[in-house]
């Protein structure tokens, strides 16, 4: 038959209080198998307390070629940062 198993992206929460982070990918026929495989591959040394998997084909990504139009507009907006605002030294706790 020869049908390749779909690819899944794996996200792990290393401990409660932290977000899930992308750690890699693997092949599996369904989400249950993807989680089981992720456990065996990515948490052999207690690297996680929670696993998310999502089939890679469902991830939409921005195009790196459009990087400038997407991200450059934020470049000249220094007023979004606290250091943009000059306050006298005697003002504390701000």
């Amino acid at each position: 038959m020869k049908k390749e198993w779909p690819i899944w992206e794996v996200f792990i929460r290393t401990k409660n209080g932290l977000e899930h982070r992308h750690v890699g990918s693997l092949h599996a026929t369904d989400s249950k198998m993807a989680i089981e495989n992720a456990r065996d591959v990515y948490t052999r040394r207690q690297e996680g307390v929670s696993i998310w998997v999502v089939e890679s084909k469902y991830i939409s990504a921005s195009n790196p070629d459009n990087g400038e139009e997407l991200f450059d507009p934020a470049k000249d907006k220094a007023y979004r940062h606290p250091t943009f605002y000059k306050l006298p030294d005697e003002v504390k706790h701000m």
Binding site: G24, T29, R44
Partner: protein, 315 residues
Amino acid sequence: MQDLEKAFQARIDAGEVIEPRDWMPEKYRKTNIRQISQHAHSEVVGMLPEGNWITRAPSLRRKVALLAKIQDEAGHGLYLYSAAETLGISRDELYDQLHTGKAKYSSIFNYPSLTWADMGAIGWLVDGAAIVNQVMLTRTSFGPYARAMVRICKEESFHQRQGYEIMLTLCKGTEVQKQMAQDALNRWWWPSLMMFGPPDAESTHTEQSMKWRIKRKSNDELRQYFIDMTIPQAEVLGITVPDPDLKWNEERGHYDFGEIDWDEFWQVVKGHGPCNKQRLDARKNAWNEGEWVRDAAVAYAEKQANKQEQIAVAG
């Protein structure tokens, strides 16, 4: 085209990391696929010589350690296959290249593991040499490859330590046990030095790979580093490497060492090593005999998905 390549080189020179969807020269993509997949195949085939000793490990402690190490190597193979797949080649294609002999794997795994001491020598020397190479690659220019290397390096140091501990135990044992350790070192020493690849003068890919930061150090540099690091470890064990020309060179600040038998290296690379056929047959059998399992898993998943759909429609 020229401009794109120049801009690409400028990014590399500035120390930037290249991600899968970034523009890259076709040759950069191909070189990475070749190197990463070769590396992945080595992790997977590398399980075979050690798998040979799981059922005959001398104690439960040694057995669980060996099992855990081999399981790690399977994981390493997977991290690396995944990294290669981000460059647009499928897993099946990668396996196919291995099974048809189109892709290579590290020739060290074409040597047999004859005694228990070989488990010590492999962990100490083979994983040791692999670590030297892999530490360099944690800063390679292709992001997914570099990240796989970071993960792998974290896991490798236990591999080397458990191997060295086996050697240490044998060397502190009876005369026969010490002989066994010495014999393993004799057989694995030269093949381990060959793991770094042909001398720089004959290495065809080195220059371009260095320019693209796919490699960051030359074969000869890494080999020398490995030798300098390993000789004092052999001294602690009280066994000697099988090289009459080996001696410390005060002026260079490095060990001088004897001529490596590159004819042997090329023989093994070309498929004439002691176990090439056996290793490849084991891989092909595992793949072919597992086909019905892979197919059944797909059929089951499809059936479950259809059932879900019918329930959804009926509801």
